[in-house]
Symmetry: C2
Subunit: 354 residues, 2 copies
C-alpha cells in the first residue's frame, strides 16, 4: 500500500457541499484539493484550486489530471467520456465499476441480487406496455424511476393505480426506467462503510433516516436496530465493498423489513446520512474517505455520542440565528447564497447524549 | 449587534496553521476567508483567496481591505503602519488596543498590574546598567526578554548568575528588554476566552500546559485545579477581555503558584493551547473566534471529553503513520512541507475519556 505523501493534491470531481467537506478533511491530513466543477462550487472556498469547466472540455480535464495525484468524486453522475479520459491519466478511487453500477439502477439491483442481497422487487421498463406488465407482476403501489440521474426525489413518480400508468410513462419522456415494487418497511437505515487500499473495511454505526418529499431530513444515531440487525447491516455493507474491490466511503441505504434487510440504494461516495459522524466520531466520514483514497489506514470511527443530524433545506436556514445559540449543536453551512426550495443549505448536528 | 451575512469574506492577517484552522471554521459558518501573508501560507490551501505581499505594500493592503468585510489576525506582530492603514478601511477585530498591549511585554505587564492582576515581578531594561540593577532588585535566576517580537522561546535568555549579565545583554543587540523575576509555579494553565461583539464572554475549561525548550508540547484537560482556582482563572480572563472591550478569542497563560494565579502572557488570537477544543467541544476555539469577529453569538464551548493535545514538532511528524492508526486520536497536519527542528508541523488530539 503506497500512501500519498503530505503536500500531495487530491482531485475532486464535483464542487458541492460534499466536496467542500472533503477538502477540509484533506487539509487536516496535510493534503491539498483541486476541485473540478462545471457550475458554482461552494467547495472552492476551501480548496487549493478550482477548475470551472464542463466535463466535455478535454483540455481542462487533462490539465486537471496533470495537477493532481489521485482523483475522487463527490457525485456519481460524471459523464463516462470524462472518466475514460481521466482514468487513463491518474488513478480514480473509488473505481469505475462502483461508479458504473451505481449510475444505473438496473445494474445496481442486478449486482446486489447477484451478491445474494435482497432489494425491492423490480422490473426494467422501456415502454408503456412494459410498465403495464411490470405493474401487473409487482402490484401497485410501486415507484417508477429513471434508471439514471435521479436523486433527491427527482426523476421518479409513485404509481398508486393502473389508471395513472399512461401519464406516468409520458412524464418520463422515453427515458429507460425501472419499476420498483412497494416495500413495507419498518424503518430506513444507512451504513456508511469505508474500505482502504489494502482491503480493510470499517463501518460507522448505522444511522436511522427520515425522508420527506424524497429528501433526507434527519439521521439519528443510534438507529433502532436489534444487535443482530446491526451486525447484519454492517456485514452486508462490507460484502458490497469487498465485491467491488472498493476504495473509499460508500453510503448503503437499507430498508428494515419483517423479512430482513433490503438494500434500497448504494452511493459510491460520502453520504448525507453520514454527516452525523462529524459530531460523534474521532474520524468522520470525510476524513475516512480521504484516508482511503490517499492510501492511509482507516481511522477510529467508533461512535462516542448520540447524535441527530438535521438537514437545513431551503428556508430552514432562517432558523440559523436560533440554532447558533443552541446547546450541544454544531451548525454547518455550505456557503450557497440564496435559499431555494429543496436546496440543501447546511445541516446541524445535535449531540443528544455525550 | 450586526452580524456578517453568509457569503461575506473575512480577511486574516497571517497564513500559518492558525489562519488555516480559522479559515476552515469560517467555512462551516458559510464565510469565505482571504489570507494576507508575506511568506508561505499553509492557510492558502483552504482559503478563498491569498494575497502574497509584504506588510509594507500599501497597494496590496488596500486591495485586501477592499475585498473583505472584516479583518482579523492569526499573529500579533503585524507592523503598526499596516494596521493603521487597514483600520482606516475596515474594522479590525480584536481591536488595536489589544494588539498594541500584547505586542509589548512592558505594556502588557503594566496593563495587567493596573487591572489588579498579578504577574511575575519585572523591570524595564534598556542598558547593561539597567540589567544589573534589575537583577539586584528582582534576584536571580530571572529571564531577560526583548519587549517585542519574541515567541516560542525566541528572543529570551535565562540569567542564572550575575556573571552572565554582560553576555546576556550583548545577545539582545540593544533591543528594549524586560527582566522577569523567576516564578516558582506549581503548574502552567491557560484559559481560552472569547468575547462577542455584544460583550458576552465565554471561556473554555482551562488546560494544563507543558513546555519544552520554550515551545508548548502538550495541553491536557481537565487541568489540575481546585474549583476555586478554576473559577478564579476564568473570572480573571473575563476581566482582561472586558477591560479591552475585546472581540474574539484570546489565550491567557497563567502560572498557578502558592500565592495565587499570575498572568504569564496574553495572546490576542486563537492559541496553540486551545487546539484541544477541536476534539472536546461542540464549538472549538477557531469557530468561537470567527463567531465573535463576525458578530454572531458565541457557541457552546462546554467540554464533553478529557483530551490531551500534543504538538508535532520537527521530526515528531515521523510518528504520523503510527498516530493515524491509534484509537481515539485525531491527527491535524498543517501542510508545511519538510520538517525543521522546532517547527510546528501538526498536532494530535487524543480523547482520554469521553
Amino acid at each position: 500500500m503506497t500512501d500519498l505523501p503530505q503536500g500531495s493534491t487530491i482531485g475532486i470531481l464535483g464542487g458541492g457541499q460534499l466536496g467542500r467537506m472533503l477538502s477540509v478533511a484533506a487539509s487536516r491530513l496535510g493534503y491539498r484539493c483541486h476541485i473540478y466543477e462545471p457550475g458554482a462550487a461552494p467547495a472552492g472556498d476551501v480548496a487549493y484550486k478550482v477548475t470551472t469547466a464542463p466535463y466535455e472540455d478535454e483540455a481542462s480535464l487533462r490539465a486537471f489530471a496533470a495537477s493532481v495525484d489521485v482523483i475522487t468524486y463527490e457525485f456519481e453522475n460524471v459523464p463516462t467520456s470524462a472518466l475514460d479520459l481521466l482514468e487513463s491519466l491518474k488513478p480514480i478511487r473509488p473505481n469505475r465499476r462502483a461508479l458504473a453500477i451505481s449510475q444505473d439502477r438496473i445494474s445496481e439491483k442486478s449486482f446486489l441480487n447477484d451478491l445474494g442481497l435482497q432489494t425491492a422487487p423490480w422490473a426494467a421498463v422501456n415502454s408503456e406496455a412494459d410498465l403495464k406488465a411490470a405493474a401487473d407482476s409487482l402490484g401497485l403501489p410501486a415507484i417508477l424511476k429513471t434508471t439514471r440521474l435521479g436523486y433527491d426525489g427527482k426523476g421518479q413518480v409513485k404509481l398508486d393505480d393502473a389508471a395513472a400508468i399512461p401519464a406516468a410513462w409520458a412524464a418520463m419522456n422515453g427515458a429507460a426506467c425501472i419499476l420498483e415494487g412497494f416495500v413495507a418497511f419498518d424503518r430506513e437505515v444507512s451504513v456508511i462503510a469505508a474500505r482502504s487500499l489494502d482491503g480493510s473495511v470499517a463501518c460507522f454505526d448505522p444511522g436511522e433516516n427520515v425522508h420527506r418529499d424524497g429528501i433526507l431530513r434527519t439521521t439519528t444515531v443510534p438507529a433502532h436496530l436489534t444487535p443482530a440487525q446491526r451486525s447484519d447491516a454492517i456485514l452486508l455493507a462490507a460484502r458490497i465493498l469487498n465485491a467491488l474491490d472498493y476504495v473509499g466511503v460508500m453510503g448503503v441505504e437499507l430498508f428494515v423489513t419483517p423479512r430482513g434487510l433490503l438494500v434500497n440504494e448504494i452511493a459510491p461516495r460520502v453520504h448525507n446520512s453520514g454527516h452525523w459522524t462529524q459530531a460523534g466520531c474521532t474520524v468522520d466520514q470525510f476524513e475516512q474517505h480521504i484516508r482511503a483514497v490517499a492510501g492511509l489506514p482507516l481511522g477510529d470511527g467508533n461512535r462516542y455520542a448520540d447524535v441527530v443530524m438535521e438537514n437545513l433545506i431551503g428556508d430552514d436556514v432562517l432558523r440559523v440565528p436560533e440554532l447558533l445559540k443552541a446547546r450541544d449543536t454544531a451548525v454547518h453551512l455550505y456557503g450557497k447564497g440564496a435559499p431555494r426550495p429543496g436546496r440543501k443549505m447546511g445541516h446541524v448536528n445535535r449531540i443528544t447524549r455525550g
